[in-house]
Symmetry: C2
Subunit: 352 residues, 2 copies
DNA sequence: CAAAACAACATTATCGTTATCTTATAATTC
DNA sequence: GAATTATAAGATAACGATAATGTTGTTTTG
């Protein structure tokens, strides 16, 4: 094992050709199983290639083929379980199709996103899957200009005119809100982040619709508890829980006693549980809690948290398939917009 | 915005040259700020390049330069917070150095690992950071043979003779075990996975040393609770908690009542908490619990879990720096092996 | 058995850059 | 103002693979 020679120059087709006594072209045909080579020579060549540890130079290959068998993924942060699931599934699908994945992180910053896009373009990708951070779409036009297939996930940019796949936030919030209302809640508070994202706007809207459909009025001052935006996205997710704790504690200490909380992130529920526990408010007897995201720890909360199962893997699967179709020129021209409806996971926190 | 032309062929240096009325060569020099071009023509060329949306073809470029400004990362699963932190930090460091990151997942399977290595080689990477899944190192020899710099993290393969960075599992387990012993525990159980990994072996050894240093005897039958290996690594981390729950419940129902648990993963603590709660065994009064990993939810467990803060970001930072040094030919010849000592986070679950 | 068909390989061109070597022109020096 | 030296640009050749033709022989066929 020790005699492995380090740093030696990789053998090329030419080298192989010289050793076997044939032309580079023939070697290429033999290794790529194209016709024009006798079975015996082909076997000989393959054996020799194996022996010398020949690996085709991807740069030369993709220069002539115009493709690289690589797709890029731009998300803000893989510490976020939603995005890590998404990226994992993209990687798996890409792998099945013989593609590799270039990972670019934008950390929820417009500047870093711009940089990520720039690096993506310079990397010569075959396609790109991205969860944009900004509402403005101008950053993405270079991608389209360069003719690189682009599929968006999670956050939509309608004016860009590209395919979009997402979980259905509107349906989701109505599912969770309806669930607590159906179980007798009359005074529900939505605990969510105060950010100017379309996803969050949609959530507030859906929440309101759900209340109104049940004959309840929606008053932002009473039915909304907003968490100030996170300072940095490099820090652990658990700060979300801290922030939620603070907002919930404040609300409860002002004497407000809703009979149900619906939250926009399971981590918020984590902080909320603490605030409630400290004040001896029992879940679900005094107040129901409904989560969002079905994070791994929710089943083990006390009581186990009812939550929403977001089909991020399915989103990733469809987005990747669509992207690969585009790359292989098999995609139709229409712009696909799919929102996949999540599923409820009802557990003890909403069961009276 | 709508008139953005889709799928048009990217302009090349030749195209630019024709437009400006110069040679491709001159354009190249102008854009790369190499001497031999007058200031005015350079400005003209850059303006024109910007206007046409010229992006250099990375394939052609790296074919000539022999590098791609890309490093690969092979880990088993980014759903695991340790690995997602690691990958995030590698991406950040790489980005600072002008490199992009190719992500390859091995899903804790030897076969997929082999495939990932193969794809890494075919991708023409400048370097590779990997957390190997197997103890056997033969899968990695092609990487070394190809002269591609390799840095290992998390799991060591000494016979491979490459740099290695990791958290110090041995010091870690002694820190956690010592912590409960120092707080009066006399009968400690280590709850860990039953896998033939060097990391886990090291943990068991360290646990034993810690007990013996405190004048206690170590008996595998009494001091060890082993969780059967996970079936699949695509499933959520929370199954770890389920498995731990089952093992802990079984142990407790056999009448065993240790006064402290030390676990090899915070998720195990999650399952353990439930098993204890169901049996009205109080934490920390009846039994102390010490976690491993400082996952985001541990601060919000009831009671908050004492745990071990693993410096995965620091590991990633050092590993990436070292890899970049290798790539840029600035690394010395010696084989670096660094184990970074974790820190304790003492919370209520071990405070009597 | 000659003409056509085919298999097995060689030749040459090409992808889009960068590197090296020239050459023409302008600026400097004595 | 002639000789020297900078400066700006062109010409040509890589890089390592694949694609499109060419060139041999050998086999088939009427």
């Amino acid at each position: 094992m020790a005699e492995v020679s380090r740093g030696r120059r990789q053998p090329t087709l030419q080298d192989l050709a010289k050793v076997v006594g044939l032309t580079a072209n023939t070697i290429s045909r033999a290794l790529n199983d194209r016709p024009g080579v006798s079975a015996t020579t082909r076997a000989l060549i393959k054996a020799e290639a194996e022996r010398l540890g020949y690996v085709p130079n991807i740069h030369a290959r993709s220069l002539v083929l115009g493709a690289r068998k690589t797709i890029g993924v731009i998300v803000s942060n893989i510490s976020n379980p939603f995005f890590s699931d998404l990226v994992s599934e993209v990687e798996l699908q890409a792998q099945h199709a013989g593609y590799t994945v270039l990972l670019l992180l934008s950390y929820e910053s417009a500047e870093r996103e711009r940089d990520a896009i720039d690096r993506a373009l310079r990397s010569g990708l075959d396609g790109l899957i991205a969860a944009p951070v900004q509402e403005r779409s101008t950053a993405w036009t270079p991608v389209i200009k360069a003719g690189i297939p682009l599929v968006l996930v999670s956050r939509e940019l309608p004016e860009l005119g590209v395919d979009f796949y997402s979980t259905d936030n509107d349906a989701g919030i109505q599912l969770t809100t309806d669930a607590v209302l159906a179980r007798g809640a009359k005074d529900v508070v939505l605990l969510d982040e105060d950010m100017p994202f379309s996803t969050i706007r949609l959530r507030t809207e859906g929440f309101r619709h759900s209340l109104e459909r049940h004959g309840l009025t929606f008053d932002p001052r009473y039915n909304l508890a907003l968490i100030p935006p996170a300072r940095s996205f490099r820090v652990s997710q658990s700060w979300h829980a801290d922030d939620a704790y603070r907002v919930a504690a404040d609300l409860l200490d002002r004497g407000r006693r809703p009979d149900a909380f619906v939250v926009g992130d399971d981590y918020y529920a984590l902080g909320l549980y603490r605030a409630l526990r400290e004040r001896n408010i029992r879940i679900p007897d005094d107040v129901m809690v409904m989560g969002w995201g079905n994070l791994p720890f929710t089943r083990f909360m006390e009581p186990p948290l009812s939550t929403l199962l977001l089909p991020f893997e399915e989103v990733a699967r469809r987005a990747t398939r669509r992207l690969l179709d585009h790359i292989q020129g098999m995609a139709d021209d229409r712009i696909v917009t799919e929102r996949i409806v999540p599923e409820l996971a009802i557990r003890a926190s909403t069961t009276r």
